[in-house]
């Protein structure tokens, strides 16, 4: 029903989606979102930090609120921490539901809240060295949609 993970090492999004979908044969729709490290802009590496006492518990609470809000058969949230290279997967959200609209909305809601409310701090490395990424105003506006 609820599978929420924080990973220190790389994951395979295709394999995760395959397993999640196979685990929900009764669902008519599975919606997934994959976030990956953007290539370009001179970015050589991206690092995501977390605070263990808050980050995973907060992700589990988010999953519970998603499950309380939409009629889902299952919800998957996988999030990386640590140092990643361009094109590495960062986050995967998948929602399985009897009807597709619930799955679309649930995945959208979960991503907006992961981006602007979950306890992650991001920095990127370019030729100039490491630089912390400040929160984006768009992310806060996205949250106001809900």
């Amino acid at each position: 029903m609820r599978d929420v993970r924080l990973l220190e090492t790389a994951f395979d999004p295709a394999l995760e989606i395959e397993r999640f979908t196979a685990g929900h044969p009764q669902s008519g729709g599975v919606v997934s979102f994959l976030g990956q490290v953007r290539e370009g802009g001179g970015v050589e590496a991206l690092e995501l930090r977390h605070y263990a006492p808050l980050t995973l518990p907060g992700m589990r609470q988010l999953a519970d609120s998603v499950l309380g809000r939409w009629a889902l058969d299952g919800l998957l949230i996988v999030h990386r921490v640590g140092t990643m290279a361009p094109r590495d997967p960062i986050v995967l959200v998948a929602a399985a539901a009897r009807h597709r609209r619930d799955a679309f909305a649930a995945a959208d809601f979960a991503m907006d809240h992961l981006k602007s409310e979950s306890w992650f701090w991001k920095r990127e490395k370019t030729a100039d060295g490491w630089r912390w990424i400040e929160p984006r105003e768009e992310d806060r506006r996205d949250l106001a949609r809900w």
């Binding site: 976030g35 995501l48 006492p53 999030h79 701090w121 912390w132 400040e134 929160p135 992310d139």
Partner: protein
């Protein structure tokens, strides 16, 4: 024994390390013993505080005891 301060995100750069041991006591006294520039950053309006893993609504009332962990959490930038 001592209490521990944890600095997340850009606050780690401001502090020069991810964590620091401090003498226990009221938060105001703990901060007064830090570099003033760092203390100002830690007291920033958008910095949240967690005591032993629980968010604190009223940081003014925090008194650190031996073994406590106080984390300073700047605005997040995840996903």
């Amino acid at each position: 024994m001592a209490a521990r301060l944890v600095f997340l995100g850009r606050l780690e750069d401001a502090a020069g390390s991810g964590e620091r041991e401090v003498a226990p006591g009221p938060l105001a006294e703990v901060l007064a013993r830090l570099d003033p520039a760092l203390a100002v950053e830690l007291l920033g309006e958008r910095v949240r505080i967690a005591l032993n893993g629980a968010l604190v609504a009223e940081p003014g009332g925090v008194v650190l005891a031996d073994g406590d962990e106080l984390a300073f959490l700047p605005p997040v930038s995840g996903g």
